[in-house]
């Protein structure tokens, strides 16, 4: 099948994306017909007040939830046309997640945490260990490979999470307020790192943030309010 998105360099695209939560007698429209397009190598930030729908958007972009209506295309694939198992595979191969709370598995080592998506993907041990070590080296925490995440600083833990997000070479990295648990200096370092991933390694990053300074370091900001796109700002 002809893949128009791939040809036009679009990694992520939504088509009238809507999400309504039914909570008993109350219906909350978290997203209302959102249309966005993100190209390969872009660093896009999503900004909005609490309850604006930015996390819902990120979850839908990341195949973690199903929309009420509309479509999400990742690398030109209409992801919600697939079942739960295929959706899990899309999360594994096409999407890398970075969370505010790092979300690492603390009983196991840094290396095993980074390897985990590759383990799920069934990548052979030698290949995935080499790739994990390469990423840890790139992120400057190679010497922490056999440490437990809990023994690392916040910044180092977030680097582990970034390495984990990159291991399967995903089409897009989704970061949900990745600096929320870090001090300003370390937070800035993480944003610089994400920016470098886009500029140097041509990765695509979509980040939810409250921090306008951090947003200004991205290539484009999408402002969301009441479940709708309010405006877009492109930075030079």
């Amino acid at each position: 099948m002809y893949n128009h998105d791939m040809d036009s360099g679009l990694v992520l695209r939504t088509e009238n994306l809507s999400k309504v939560y039914n909570g008993g007698y109350v219906r909350v429209a978290a997203l209302k017909s959102v249309n966005i397009s993100i190209r390969k190598g872009e660093f896009v930030t999503i900004i909005g007040p609490s309850g604006s729908g930015k996390s819902t958007l990120l979850h839908l972009l990341g195949a973690l939830d199903r929309p009420t209506s509309g479509k999400v295309y990742v690398d030109g694939i209409d992801i919600y046309s697939y079942g739960d198992s295929e959706l899990a595979m899309i999360r594994n191969r096409k999407i890398g997640f970075i969370f505010q709370a790092f979300n690492l598995i603390n009983r196991t080592t840094v290396l095993r945490n980074v390897e985990m998506p590759a383990i799920i993907a069934g990548i052979p041990s030698d290949v995935r260990v080499a790739k994990a070590m390469q990423l840890l080296r790139m992120l400057g925490i190679e010497d922490k490979a056999n440490f437990k995440p809990i023994s690392l600083s916040g910044g180092q833990q977030q680097r582990v999470a970034i390495a984990r997000a990159l291991i399967n070479d995903p089409a897009v990295i989704l970061a949900d307020e990745p600096t929320g648990n870090l001090d300003s200096k370390t937070g800035l370092e993480v944003i610089e790192l994400l920016s470098t991933l886009c500029t140097k390694y041509h990765k695509t990053v979509v980040m939810v943030t409250h921090n306008l300074e951090h947003a200004s370091m991205s290539t484009r900001s999408i402002y969301i309010r009441d479940g709708m796109i309010e405006k877009e700002v492109v930075y030079q």
Partner: protein, 414 residues
């Protein structure tokens, strides 16, 4: 995700909650070891009973005077038996259809004196040449003469060479003094004694009653024990095993309930039935214990699912499918069950052996007459499969719950 990685991850998860995992494994271990011990002890005891009765020919029927009923007044001498087993009774039984032979016997306890030592032994007085018809498996030491001789005595290997004694009590060809003490009609205490030649020594059979007995000629026993030609019992041999019931019916028609009739077949069946009942009871307790272990697994895994909700969310976010999560938790249940079974089996065997050694009857019996637990490969495999299977079943619900967790809800549990 391959099976080896799932096993590794499951091990990691169990290691993280060491104490809880160990306690759950202990529950399964207890159930498994109880099952193994009960199974082993029962199988061993059944084999022991079979061994004991395999000495007896299957066509053997024991006839004795019926047990006398209590007068209900208490005290006083017991009433006389309703039947006196005389040679006339023996002949009548011998002439019944289906009867091959009727061998009368006297029984009693005597003392044997030899080489300055004394032993109390049980006497079984009957035609010695017919011993093979009753106990075909009996074996005699070389040089033994199994003949019907009034001046002979045949003793067991244990009487001849008592355990722990360096010097034999008696050897073939030597004489022993047999003494019997009783009180006569005039109230006089009397002791009869005879000097007899040891003509035969039979090898241990494993039956403590037989292995502690001596065989005398009936006439000798009649005189010695003042039996007045009143037999204590008659061993009736049916022509073949199929005729046992017919012969029993014939005897019953002749003497009704005045005689007690039993056969090796019936005794063995009764013992088996009795052991079967006890086993069912003990087995139920052991299974309940294993079920408690299974509930422990459910509790442990369910708690683990609650505690690891966020981890499940992370795994799902990075691409784990429901079946991966299901297998991960199921593997934890299987590991608990497998370790419980692997540890429980030898522990149960050791426990069974210990219980067997501590049992008073067993402790005092010579080694060849002890009931030993018997662990068959089939039984062990069955218990192992039950332990692991039950653990897997217990793990199903928590694993299913874990696999169905919504990743967003799971990740929200921060």
């Amino acid at each position: 995700m391959d099976a080896i990685k799932i096993i590794q991850l499951a091990f990691d998860a169990l290691r993280e909650r060491k104490v809880r995992s160990i306690l759950t494994i202990l529950m399964v271990t207890t159930g498994t070891s109880l099952l193994i011990a009960v199974n082993g002890l029962t199988t061993g005891f059944l084999a022991f009973a079979d061994r004991q009765f395999s000495m007896l020919a299957p066509n053997v029927i024991f006839v004795s005077p019926a047990p006398v009923e209590d007068s209900g007044l208490g005290g006083g001498p017991p009433p006389a038996p309703k039947i006196v087993l005389t040679s006339v009774v023996v002949d009548k039984i011998r002439n019944l259809p289906g009867v091959g032979d009727a061998i009368p016997n006297y029984t009693g306890a005597v003392t044997l004196e030899s080489r300055g030592k004394v032993q109390s032994v049980r006497v079984f007085a009957q035609d010695a040449t017919k011993i093979y018809s009753i106990a075909p498996g009996i074996e005699f030491e070389e040089g033994s003469i199994v003949a019907n001789n009034t001046s002979s005595i045949i003793i067991s290997e244990r009487i001849a060479r008592p355990p722990g004694e360096s010097v034999p009590f008696a050897t073939l060809g030597q004489t022993v003094v047999v003494k019997y003490t009783y009180v006569d009609e005039d109230g006089e205490r009397k002791t009869n004694s005879r000097t007899l030649v040891v003509r035969g020594i039979f090898k241990l059979t494993g039956n403590p009653t037989i292995d502690g007995a001596a065989i005398l000629h009936p006439d000798t026993a009649n005189m010695l024990m003042n039996k007045k030609s009143r037999y204590d019992g008659i061993v009736v041999l049916a022509r073949n095993t199929d005729l046992v019931e017919e012969v029993e019916d014939g005897i019953r028609r002749l003497y009704g309930n005045d005689v007690g009739i039993t056969s090796s077949k019936v005794i063995l069946a009764t013992i088996r039935q009795f052991i079967g009942g006890i086993t069912t009871f003990l087995f139920s307790i052991a299974v309940i214990s294993l079920v408690v272990g299974a509930i422990g697994i459910i509790t442990t895994l369910y708690t683990s699912v609650l505690e690891r909700t966020r981890e499940i969310g992370i795994l799902k976010a990075i691409g784990a499918q429901n079946r991966h999560i299901l297998m991960l938790f199921l593997m934890e249940a299987l590991i608990i069950g497998s370790i419980g079974a692997v540890v429980g089996i030898p522990l149960g065997m050791a426990g069974g052996d210990l219980l067997s050694n501590l049992a008073p009857g067993n402790r005092e019996a010579p080694p060849e007459a002890r009931s030993r637990p018997l662990y068959t490969v089939d039984d062990v495999a069955r218990v192992c499969a039950l332990s692991i299977g039950l653990s897997a079943v217990s793990g199903l619900y928590p694993s299913f719950r874990a696999s169905r967790l919504d990743p967003i809800v799971a990740l929200g549990r921060l």
